[in-house]
Symmetry: C2
Subunit: 217 residues, 2 copies
DNA sequence: ATAATAGTGTCTCTCAGACATTATTTA
DNA sequence: TAAATAATGTCTGAGAGACACTATTAT
């Protein structure tokens, strides 16, 4: 181990990675010893940024290096681990179609509504990440990060419904998302059972945030 | 130094504390060596939580222990200090009337639009805290944390104007804040030049968050 | 009486939310 | 031709935003 590989003591990075699999929202966890499962994590190297650390570990486990990754919260209660550990948590969104096929070894996907037993405060961390995801979904265009580059409006709506856990009205959904101007139609259609659906694509130049309704403007 | 007072290496806590002084939003900074000013901070003790650490330091400098305090972000780029330092930043809101009168020694208040030179990435941290404060102001009732327990509607409006940096319409402001039901009138008035103004108080039982306008409901 | 500040109501326009039918394809 | 999915428009109610005058006090 060279000097550059030296790790910072008492600190690590954890990642809460979401993905839509089989019409349900899933989270990536790793099987720990006999104590149950834990969030995938990594020590912080002396010369490596926190976000890089998270991105690298995510890449190892999923094959996806370039994806939506955002710092979530830093957990540092003295009693959360022994010896004391400060965990900088990130949350990530992965499109299912880009996942590496081979199951990423110590890691596996669980539906968020059927999680296994988790060590320490990791269940709490996942719950907070999910709250944040739902909240962000309502005022930013973060939902596209869970979809392939091209998608139908029905797929997009199902994505929102899966994450929010509620049904949405099809006409209102389409009206608003089209008025928001953040997606554009392509010339292609997705064919299958029923009438073919136009494929849309996210406009990367779009304004991805919507103004919150001010309490006091 | 006992075992309990041992500090974690490579980690500290920083606080961005806001207060309204002389009709302007101010930030608390400490004079560092000759390099300029820095955010007040403290090492993390082995047996002390991150938030406690921030609250204690804030109490030392301002005399206020119980106040609004929220984790902001964790800064951990390898090049931000030497030896490497991870800073967990918090932001705090202080009501001016509860500040201890004596100037808190190495610390002083600067208006956010007239900050001195700051070391490292501390200017960036303040800028981010200010963005977060403005953003939160629009959808939560966080602004009351900067006011005394009783206040007039004009004082409240000026608070919002100072933080947002823009003028607001008096009638619309009053209509919305009263409709929101988060404040209630008291029987007292504040007298002075001009017509006396009714004093209001924040309703701690009020719902302090407003639903953001969904992008896709 | 004058200067200063507090307090109040209406109109317009946009958008959220509820709601049902037609269109196009495959099996 | 039946089953499946895609696509589309209207009405109503709530609230944002623009706007000007009256009320009450101290000096």
């Amino acid at each position: 181990m060279s000097l550059m590989d030296e790790v910072l003591p008492h600190v690590d990075v954890r990642v809460v990675a979401f993905c839509l699999l089989k019409e349900r929202l899933h989270v990536l966890v790793c099987s720990a010893s006999a104590n149950g499962y834990e969030l995938p994590g990594a020590p912080v190297l002396l010369n490596c940024s926190l976000e890089e650390t998270a991105a690298r570990r995510l890449g190892e486990l999923t094959g996806i290096r370039e994806t939506y990754l955002e710092q979530l919260y830093t957990y540092g209660e003295p009693q959360r681990a022994n010896p004391r550990l400060i965990s900088v948590a990130y949350f990530a969104l992965l499109p299912a179609n880009r996942l590496s096929k081979t199951p990423p070894h110590p890691a596996c996907w669980f539906a968020v509504d059927a999680l296994p037993a988790l060590t320490g405060d990791h269940a709490e961390i996942i719950a907070y990440a999910l709250r944040r995801l739902r909240y962000k979904l309502e005022y930013s265009a973060v939902g596209f990060q869970l979809l392939p580059e091209r998608f139908t409006l029905s797929e997009l709506q199902r994505t929102y419904e899966m994450i929010l856990g509620e049904k949405l009205d099809k006409r209102n959904f389409r009206r608003r998302i089209l008025r928001a101007g953040i997606i554009e139609p392509t010339t292609e259609c997705r064919t299958g059972e029923g009438r073919p659906a136009r494929l849309y694509r996210y406009r990367p130049d779009a304004v991805a945030e919507v103004k919150a309704r001010r309490l006091f403007p």
